[in-house]
C-alpha cells in the first residue's frame, strides 16, 4: 500500500497545481453567467499565467532580495499546504509532517511574506495593502483555528486526514456544531481569499483593494507565481472545507486504487458545486467597507465558538 500512498500524495499535489487555475476560472465563469455577462473561457487563468511567464520582468529599482524571493516562498508554502490537505485520499505520507494547526501556521507564513514583500518597495499602495491584509489575517486566523478546533474535538485529533476519515464514518446527518462551523469557515474562506464581501478580485480601485494592492509592483514571472499561489490558496481552502464538512467520497485506507480513481470525479463535482456557490455568494453580496471587515470576521468567530459550545454541551 505504501506505493499507493505516495502515488496519492503526488497525485494530490499535481492535481492541486493543475486544477487550481481551472477552479478559479470556473468561479469566474459562474460569476459572469450569474451577472448576465458573457463568460470568459474557463482556461482564462492559465492563459494569463502563461502570458505573464513569457514577459520580461520589471523590478523596481528599490527592490531588495526579499521582494524577489517572496513569490517563490509564497508559492512553495501553498504547494506544501496542498500536500497536507486530503482532497482525494486520506492516506498521505506527508500529512504527518503538519497537522491542522501547523497548516494555519503555513498560511500565516505565506501571508507574512506577502505583506513584507508589499512593503519592500515603499509605495503607498504596497504598505496600504500589507496593512489591510494583515488586519484581515489576524481576524480570520483565530476564526479558522476555532473551526479546526471543533472538528478536532469531534474527531479527537488535529491531523487533517484523520479528522476527515473520522467524520466520514459518521452518519450522513447534519450535526449542529458542524453546521455552525461550516458557516464560519465559509466566511473565513471569503475573507482569506480576497473574495467579495471583504475584497474584490476584479477591481483595482485603490479605496477598496487589499490583495491586488500588495501585488501592484510585481510583474511577469513573479506576478505569475503570485497569481498561481492565490489560485492554489483558494483551491486549498476549498479542499479544507471538503475535508471537514463533506469528506464523503475521498479514498480512505481500505479503498485501494479503485477508490482513488473514484475519488477524482467526486472531487471534480465538489469543486464544481463549491465554485458555483462561491460565485453565487459573491453575486448576491456587496463589498463591505474595510472597517466593516472586523464585524464580518467577528461574526465568523462567534459562529465557530457557537459550534464549539454546542459540541461540548450537546456532544453533537
Amino acid at each position: 500500500m505504501n506505493t499507493l500512498e505516495w502515488f496519492t500524495q503526488i497525485l494530490e499535489v499535481g492535481a492541486a497545481l493543475a486544477a487550481a487555475p481551472l477552479f478559479l476560472g470556473w468561479v469566474g465563469q459562474c460569476r459572469a453567467w450569474l451577472q448576465n455577462r458573457r463568460a470568459p473561457s474557463i482556461f482564462q487563468v492559465y492563459r494569463g499565467i502563461r502570458k505573464l511567464f513569457h514577459k520580461d520582468a520589471v523590478v523596481a529599482t528599490r527592490a531588495s532580495p526579499l521582494f524577489r524571493i517572496a513569490p517563490y516562498i509564497v508559492f512553495g508554502t501553498m504547494v506544501a499546504a496542498a500536500a497536507i490537505i486530503p482532497s482525494m485520499g486520506t492516506r498521505l505520507p506527508f500529512a504527518s509532517a503538519a497537522d491542522a494547526i501547523a497548516l494555519v501556521g503555513l498560511f500565516a507564513t505565506a501571508r507574512m511574506f506577502l505583506a513584507l514583500a508589499a512593503m519592500d518597495i515603499g509605495t503607498p499602495f504596497g504598505t496600504l495593502g500589507a496593512r489591510r491584509e494583515m488586519m484581515v489575517g489576524f481576524l480570520a486566523e483565530p476564526a479558522l483555528l476555532m473551526v479546526i478546533f471543533v472538528a478536532s474535538l469531534i474527531s479527537m485529533t488535529t491531523a487533517l486526514p484523520l479528522i476527515s476519515e473520522r467524520l466520514m464514518t459518521q452518519a450522513l446527518s447534519l450535526s449542529p456544531s458542524l453546521a455552525f462551523t461550516a458557516v464560519a469557515f465559509t466566511m473565513v474562506l471569503l475573507a482569506e481569499n480576497a473574495r467579495i464581501p471583504i475584497d474584490n478580485p476584479a477591481t483595482h480601485l485603490e479605496l477598496t483593494m487589499i490583495h491586488e494592492a500588495m501585488l501592484l509592483e510585481y510583474s511577469a514571472r513573479h506576478l505569475a507565481l503570485m497569481e498561481w499561489a492565490a489560485a492554489l490558496k483558494l483551491f486549498n481552502y476549498a479542499c479544507i472545507g471538503f475535508a471537514l464538512f463533506m469528506p464523503w467520497g475521498a479514498a480512505t485506507g481500505e479503498a485501494g486504487p479503485l477508490g482513488l480513481l473514484a475519488a477524482i470525479p467526486v472531487l471534480g463535482v465538489k469543486l464544481g458545486v463549491a465554485g458555483a456557490a462561491l460565485a453565487l455568494i459573491e453575486t448576491v453580496s456587496a463589498k463591505l467597507r474595510v472597517f466593516r471587515a472586523p464585524e464580518f470576521l467577528a461574526t465568523a468567530f462567534l459562529f465557530a465558538v457557537l459550534g464549539l459550545l454546542v459540541h461540548i454541551l450537546l456532544g453533537a
Binding site: T77, F94, G105, M119, G122
Partner: protein, 673 residues
C-alpha cells in the same frame, strides 16, 4: 554520563564566581572601553557558553527522581548557611541564561561606545554582577539566598538601566522600575513567609515538607503571583517595562527581556510546582485569566507604538502573558489529575521561555545595531535599512518570524504545544471551566496572529521601503562582534524550531522530576514531534522546511530554464505624477491605525487635529495607558500626600533627629521591659 552528584553544581558555582570576578576586573581600568570590549565581554561570553554546557550536563545527568545535588555554603550570617541546589528546572533556565548571555556578551563587546553615562568599567561590573545574580537565583535553595540574589538582580539591572543617567527621563524610568521591583520582592517575601507555615525554617526543603491549609496555600500562591507577576510585567504591573526597556542600552534590554523576565517564570514554576503544597486546582485559573489579558493588552499596545524598543517591550508583556497562561493551564491539569496534559502544558511553558529568551534578545540587539547605525529609535525616521545593513536585516528577520509564531521557527513550536494543551482542556471534569477554557485557545490564536501584524509593522517600517530620512544613507552594518552575537541568537531560534523532538525530550525531564507527568516524545521518529502518542497530533518542521525549500528551488530552476527572460530595473510606478517620495509610505502610526480603531477601549487617546486655518498644520496622536491613569496616578498622588503629611518631621536640625532617636529607644525599651 559519569557525573559526581556535585559536579555540575560546583562547576556552575565556580562559573558564576568567575563572572563576578570579570566584573570586578572591569574596575581596574575604569575608563577604557577597549579593555572591556577586547577582553572582559568576550571572556564573559565564553563563561556564558560554559554555563549553558554545564546546565545541559546537569539536565542530561539528572535522575528522574527528585534527588538533585545539594550543596551547603557556610557564608553570610552565622547559623544561616546558604543552601544551593541544582535540579532539572534550574538547569533549563541556566541553559537559557548561559546561551543568551553568550550571544549578548559577544554583541556587547562591539556595542559600547564613548558616551556621557557610567564609565565602561562600571557598566562591565554591573553587567556581570547582573548575570551572576540571575545564576544564583536559579540555584538558590532557601528563601534568604533566593531573595538576596533576587534583589541583587533587581539592583544591578536598575543601575544598568540608568547607564545614561544624565537624561532625566531615563532616571525616572529607572526609578519606576526600582519601585515596582521592590513591591514585587515584598510580595515574594510574604509568599515565602506563608509557605514556611510558622516553622521558622527558610529552606526550600522545609517548604516542600510543610502542610499548608488551603487558604494559606492560596494566599501564598497569590502573593507569589503578584511578586513574580510584577517582575514579569503582567498587567497591571506592566508599567515599568515599556519605560525601562527603551531606557537601557540594547544588550541590557536584551538580557532583561530575554532572561530576567524568565526568572519570574522560573520563580512561579518553582513555587507552584515544587514548593507549594495543598493548592486547590482552580487557583490555576487565575494566572490563565491574568495571562490572557496581559497577552492581549501587550500585543495591542505593541501595535500602536512608534518607538521600536517600546514596541518590543510591549511584545514582551504579550509573551509573558502567554507564558503565565500556559503555566496556569499546567497547574489546572496538574490539579485535576491529568498528568500527561499537565506535562504538555509545562513543556509549552519551558519551550516558550527558552525560545522567547533567544528570540527577544535577538530583536533587541537588532534594534541596538539600528540605533547605533542611525541614532534613531523612532520608527517614523527609519526605513529601507535592508539595503544598508543586510546582516542585521536578515538576522532580525529570523527573530521577527520566530516571535510571530511562524513555522518552522522556535515560536511556532511552543504555540503549537500550547494550542494542543488547550484543545484537550474540555476534558477537565468541571463544567463551565471545560467550556470556557477552549475559548482561551481562540484568544491565544488572536494574540499570535496580532503578533504577526506587529512584526510586519516592526520589520517593514525599519528595514523595508524607502529611507524616511536622508541620514539613513550613511548607515552600515556593525562590526564582527555584533554580527556574531546576532548570528548566534538567530541560530538558536532556528535550531529550537527545527528540532522540537530533541529539545522536548530534554525539557520534559523537568516535568518528570517535579512529578508533574511524562510525555513519550521519544517514541516518534527523530524528526517528528509527537507529544501525545494517542492523539495523533504530529509536527515535523524538518519535513516541512524541506518541502517548502525543495519547491522554491525547483520552481526557481524550472522558471529559469523555461523562461530565460530579461529582468529590467525601473523606478516604481508613480501613476504618472512623478516624485514618489518616502513620505507617501505608511508611517508607524498609520500602520497601527486599524488596531487603534478596533481596540479603542484599550487606549487613552488624545488626538490633535489641525484646523483648516492653521498655517502649519500638525497632526498628533498621543496614546496613553488607561491603567496608568486610573491606578498609578491616584496612587502617586496618595503617596505624595502622605509623604507631605510626614514632612513636618523633617525639620533639618540635628538636635531634633537625636531626640527622635532617643524617644524611639525609650519606647522600645518600655515595650521590651
Amino acid at each position: 554520563m559519569p557525573a559526581t552528584p556535585h559536579g555540575p553544581l560546583t562547576l556552575i558555582l565556580l562559573l558564576l564566581c568567575v563572572w563576578g570576578l570579570i566584573g570586578v576586573t572591569g574596575l581596574v581600568r575604569l575608563d577604557s572601553i577597549r579593555f572591556a570590549a577586547a577582553w572582559l565581554f568576550p571572556m564573559g561570553a565564553v563563561i556564558g557558553l560554559t554555563v549553558a554546557a554545564a546546565g545541559l550536563w546537569a539536565l542530561l545527568g539528572s535522575p528522574a527522581s527528585a534527588a538533585a545535588p545539594h550543596c551547603l555554603l557556610q557564608v553570610g550570617l552565622p547559623n544561616l548557611p546558604v543552601h544551593l541546589r541544582l535540579d532539572a528546572l534550574s538547569s533549563v533556565f541556566l541553559i537559557l541564561l548561559g546561551g543568551v548571555a553568550c550571544g549578548v556578551s559577544t554583541f556587547a563587546s562591539g556595542y559600547f561606545r564613548k558616551h556621557q553615562g557610567s564609565p565602561p568599567g562600571l557598566v562591565c561590573l554591573q553587567y556581570h554582577v547582573f548575570l551572576a545574580s540571575m545564576g544564583f537565583v536559579l540555584i538558590a535553595d532557601d528563601a534568604y539566598a533566593f531573595l538576596v540574589a533576587w534583589e541583587t538582580m533587581a539592583v544591578s539591572s536598575y543601575f544598568l538601566v540608568i547607564t545614561d543617567h544624565r537624561i532625566a527621563a531615563i532616571r525616572s524610568a529607572g526609578f519606576l522600575y526600582l519601585v515596582i521591583a521592590h513591591a514585587g520582592a515584598l510580595a515574594i517575601l510574604c509568599a515565602f513567609a506563608l509557605m514556611q507555615s510558622g516553622a521558622g525554617q527558610s529552606t526550600f526543603d522545609a517548604m516542600r515538607a510543610a502542610a499548608l491549609t488551603p487558604v494559606g496555600a492560596g494566599a501564598a500562591f497569590l502573593f507569589a503571583l503578584v511578586g513574580f507577576g510584577a517582575k514579569a510585567g503582567l498587567v497591571p504591573f506592566h508599567v515599568w517595562l515599556p519605560e525601562a526597556h527603551p531606557a537601557a542600552p540594547s544588550p541590557v534590554s536584551a538580557l532583561m527581556s530575554g532572561v530576567m523576565l524568565k526568572m519570574a517564570v522560573y520563580g512561579m514554576l518553582r513555587v507552584s510546582f515544587d514548593l507549594l503544597t495543598g493548592l486547590a486546582w482552580w487557583w490555576g485559573l487565575v494566572p490563565i485569566a491574568v495571562g490572557l489579558f496581559s497577552a492581549l493588552y501587550g500585543i495591542v499596545f505593541a501595535a500602536a507604538q512608534t518607538d521600536m524598543k517600546r514596541l518590543l517591550a510591549y511584545s514582551s508583556i504579550d509573551n509573558l502573558g502567554i507564558l503565565f497562561t500556559a503555566l496556569g493551564l499546567a497547574l489546572v491539569f496538574h490539579g485535576v489529575g491529568m498528568p500527561t496534559l499537565a506535562a504538555l502544558a509545562l513543556l509549552a511553558v519551558l519551550y516558550h521561555s527558552v525560545g522567547h529568551g533567544f528570540t527577544k534578545s535577538l530583536l533587541f540587539l537588532g534594534t541596538g545595531s539600528v540605533l547605533h547605525a542611525t541614532g534613531e529609535r523612532n520608527l517614523g525616521r527609519l526605513g529601507g535599512l535592508i539595503h544598508r545593513m543586510p546582516w542585521v536585516a536578515w538576522l532580525t528577520l529570523i527573530g521577527a518570524l520566530a516571535i510571530a509564531g511562524l513555522p518552522p521557527l522556535s515560536g511556532f513550536v511552543s504555540e503549537w504545544l500550547l494550542l494542543q494543551a488547550f484543545l484537550f482542556s474540555h476534558e477537565i471534569p468541571h463544567t463551565f471551566v471545560n467550556m470556557l477554557l477552549p475559548l482561551g485557545a481562540g484568544l491565544v490564536a488572536l494574540v499570535a496572529a496580532l503578533a504577526g501584524y506587529v512584526m510586519v509593522k516592526f520589520y517593514g517600517v525599519i528595514f523595508l521601503g524607502q529611507p524616511r530620512e536622508t541620514g539613513l544613507a550613511l548607515a552600515h552594518d556593525p562590526g564582527f562582534g555584533e554580527r556574531a552575537g546576532l548570528a548566534w541568537l538567530a541560530l538558536a531560534c532556528v535550531l529550537l524550531g527545527l528540532f522540537p523532538a530533541q529539545v522536548s525530550a530534554v525539557l520534559q525531564r523537568v516535568g518528570a522530576q517535579l512529578h508533574v507527568g511524562v510525555l513519550d516524545v521519544d517514541r516518534a521518529p527523530w524528526w517528528m514531534l509527537v507529544p501525545l502518542a494517542n492523539r495523533q497530533a504530529s509536527y515535523a518542521p524538518l519535513a516541512f522546511l524541506f518541502t517548502v525549500a525543495a519547491t522554491v528551488v525547483l520552481t526557481l530552476l524550472v522558471v529559469r530554464r523555461l523562461y530565460r527572460r530579461h529582468e529590467r530595473r525601473a523606478p516604481a510606478w508613480d501613476c504618472g505624477f512623478g516624485s514618489l517620495n518616502a513620505r507617501m509610505q505608511d508611517t508607524a502610526e498609520g500602520f497601527g491605525q486599524p488596531i487603534r480603531q478596533l481596540f479603542e477601549p484599550f487606549f487613552a487617546m488624545r488626538r490633535h487635529l489641525p484646523s483648516p486655518f492653521d498655517a502649519a498644520p500638525t497632526y498628533r496622536v498621543d496614546i496613553g495607558d488607561r491603567i496608568w491613569n486610573f491606578a498609578y496616578l491616584p496612587l502617586q498622588t496618595l503617596v505624595q500626600r502622605i509623604a507631605g503629611g510626614f514632612a513636618w518631621l523633617q525639620q533639618g536640625r540635628i538636635a531634633l533627629y537625636l531626640i527622635y532617636g532617643f524617644v524611639t529607644l525609650v519606647v522600645l525599651l518600655a515595650l521590651v521591659l
